[in-house]
C-alpha cells in the first residue's frame, strides 16, 4: 500500500488548482467512531522513531472528547509513504493543570486534534 507520487513537474495551472483547492484530507472508513463527545480518553504513551502528530506533552494524559471531526487520512503513516489508514479525528480537551501541574491556571485548557490510533479508552 505504499503511497506513489506522479513525479510530474507542476505546471502553473496545476499550482493554481492546488492553491485554490488544496489537498482533501478526508477519508472513508466503515467503522463507527470509537469515541463520542464527552468521553474521557487517554493519549497513548508511545515513542515511535518515525513521524507522528501526537506531541510528547499530551502522551499519557487524560482528556475529554470535545468534538468528533469525522474521518481523515492518517499523517503518521502518510509521512512514511505507507498506508493512508483513514480513521476518526477528535478534538480532545485537556485541562492545563492535568498536563503542566498546579502552576498552570485552572482556567487554561488545551484543545488538540488526535486520531483513533493516538487514543486509548479510560
Amino acid at each position: 500500500m505504499a503511497i506513489e507520487t506522479s513525479n510530474e513537474c507542476m505546471s502553473v495551472a496545476q499550482a493554481e488548482i492546488l492553491l485554490q483547492s488544496g489537498v482533501n484530507c478526508r477519508g472513508v472508513t466503515n467503522a463507527p467512531p470509537k469515541f463520542q463527545v464527552g468521553d474521557m480518553v487517554k493519549a497513548k504513551v508511545m515513542h515511535p522513531v518515525t513521524y507522528t502528530r501526537l506531541p510528547r506533552y499530551v502522551r499519557g494524559k487524560v482528556g475529554t472528547i470535545a468534538k468528533v471531526h469525522g474521518v481523515y487520512v492518517f499523517p503518521d503513516t502518510i509521512g512514511q509513504r505507507l498506508d493512508t489508514k483513514p480513521q476518526y479525528v477528535y478534538n480532545v480537551r485537556f485541562a492545563a493543570q492535568d498536563i503542566w501541574g498546579p502552576d498552570a491556571s485552572p482556567k487554561d485548557f488545551l484543545h488538540i486534534d488526535l486520531f483513533d490510533d493516538h487514543l486509548d479508552t479510560v
Binding site: 496545476q14 510528547r56 498536563i99
Partner: protein, 102 residues
C-alpha cells in the same frame, strides 16, 4: 520521533520575536525555497513527508536554524533520497555558480 521539533512546553526560548510590518518573505532565497517546496507537494512528496524531513534535521542544527533553512534542509534531503539530484551534483553546481560570480 522524539525530535527538537516537538517543543510544546520547552523552556528557555526567550521572548516572542514580534516584527512590525513584516514582509511575506525576508529574501529572494526564502521565496524560492518556499516555491520549490510547494511545487513538489503532492506531485513528488506528500506534504507530511516534507514535514517529517524537516524534523530529521540534526537537533543542534534544527535549534539554530531559521524556518526556511529547515525547509531547505527538507527539500534537499528528499530530492537526494529520492535520487532526483545527487549531493555531488549540488556541490558541483554551487562551485560552478560561485566561479561565475567572480
Amino acid at each position: 520521533m522524539n525530535g527538537p521539533h516537538d517543543m510544546g512546553g520547552m523552556h528557555g526560548m526567550g521572548p516572542i520575536p514580534i516584527e512590525a510590518d513584516e514582509s511575506v518573505f525576508h529574501s529572494q532565497w526564502e521565496a524560492k525555497v518556499f516555491a520549490m517546496s510547494f511545487a513538489t507537494f503532492c506531485n513528488y512528496f506528500p506534504v507530511d513527508e516534507t514535514r517529517h524531513a524537516s524534523e530529521r534535521m540534526p537537533p543542534g542544527d534544527y535549534l539554530t536554524s531559521s524556518y526556511y533553512e529547515r525547509w531547505l534542509y527538507a527539500l534537499e534531503l528528499l530530492i537526494t533520497e529520492h535520487n532526483l539530484v545527487t549531493p555531488e551534483e549540488i556541490e558541483q553546481r554551487i562551485a560552478k555558480l560561485s566561479q561565475e560570480e567572480y
